[in-house]
Amino acid sequence: MRGPISFLMLLVLAGGAWAAEIHPPSQATAGVSFSMSSSGTGQGTFYLIGPAHVAKHQVSLGGNIDVDGTEIEHAGRYTAILCTDQCSATTFYVHAAEPDRLSLLVHPSRVPVSNPNAISAVAFVWDAFHNLEFSPQTVKFTVNPSEHSSISQARTSSNGIAWIRLTSAAKGGPAKIEASIGKTSETRVVQQVASDACNLRIKGSSVSHKVLVETDPVRDCSGNFVPDGTVVSFTMTDSTGKTTVDVPIKRGVAKVEIPATGHARITAASGVATGNELDLAGGAE
């Protein structure tokens, strides 16, 4: 007997009260107020449950239920629940609003000159409520070198991200990299520094029992001065053995005095760059 009685009770409950219904729009925009229609009569309780916000209102059934823009600032899936003596629920999706902000990541902060695809710039597109803008947007990347005219390229964002790879300029100095969308823009500065030394030349002279060796002004292959503090390694071989000394560049040149006995052969290197060989007559053996 238990089965038929339970079935009957369910029928009574179902027939006694129909749950009021709500009809949200198929999609809403973050921060923009909207209304959803409801069915039924009397008063009900409306719940709105979002990714980062929950709201509860007393509403009149049968009319429009207003949802304020401040209640849907976070994009994502929302659940709207309308309760009288029973509840009905429905879901809708809130999309990001218009692009309003950019986050720009540029790497590295220092880069050698004339280095292909060495700079990576990645822009994240956000709306005013910090929702990632998933719809494709055109982001303009602009490079402003210190002494040349700017260069721009546009990229379409995918899943909120637009990126570009850039080649560093031949001349050292700061380069401003800007990403812009509409009226908003972000700028980062990359320092373009001299690359490896190029055509490292040394010259020297014998003074008493010493040889004085110095480099010509050390530049990279694009003509930029290699920064002071960069090490130039001098190696001298004479009759007493080998002498090495790591000398930092000061005011564009590296120079050193090395004691020498007899004939001395001197070479220099900086990183992977090697210089010319120098043969000098040192002091008496």
Binding site: K242, T243, D246
Partner: protein, 175 residues
């Protein structure tokens, strides 16, 4: 033991540290060690330092691969002192052991309290085959040569074609 060289390719000084993890036959980490003092940690731009990482008690047959980790941090560093390494030569000492000898000359005007010699040895192919080091038990006064000697295993000495000496320094009152 792992030996090699590290170069600061940046345009600013760096504090570097090299460590390695030995990976076993079943991809398990066997041991992790750092180069400790067998490296010149502060490198000026384009400066090269040898390093050696010791794994005491580890057998080569247990190791499948090695994971290297080189970390660098920007630091302020002085270009001084400049220390010259003169009269470098490999000799046999009084007890028949091979040693690398030479003289250090402090070319700057300041006293170097502690100097540390690190030498990398290369075979005929230019590959680093050994790194040895030693502290000099005497301060370096300007322009006064101070002798140093670092040991070289006999089996390595036979294969050495060239070597590179760097001098690390520690000062009580760093500039």
């Amino acid at each position: 033991m792992i030996v090699g060289e590290i170069v600061n390719e940046d345009t600013v000084p760096a504090y570097v540290n090299v460590s390695a993890t030995l990976v076993g036959q079943h991809q398990e980490d066997l041991s992790q060690e750092g180069s400790f003092d067998k490296i010149s940690h502060t490198l000026l731009p384009k400066q090269v330092s040898p390093y050696r990482i010791d794994f005491p008690g580890m057998r080569l047959s247990k190791i499948k691969s090695v994971r290297m980790d080189a970390r660098a941090m920007l630091v302020p560093a002085s270009a001084d002192p400049v220390i010259e390494v003169n009269q470098q030569r490999i000799e046999t000492d009084a007890v028949g052991k091979k040693v690398l000898r030479g003289e250090l000359v402090n070319q700057s005007g300041q006293v170097v309290n502690i100097s540390h010699v690190i030498a990398a040895y290369y075979d005929a192919n230019g590959k680093v085959i050994w790194v040895s080091d030693g502290y000099v038990d005497q301060e370096l006064e300007p322009q006064i040569p101070v002798a140093f000697a670092v040991d070289l295993p006999d089996d390595v000495a036979a294969k050495v074609q060239s070597y590179h000496v760097v001098v690390n320094h520690y000062d009580i009152h760093p500039s």
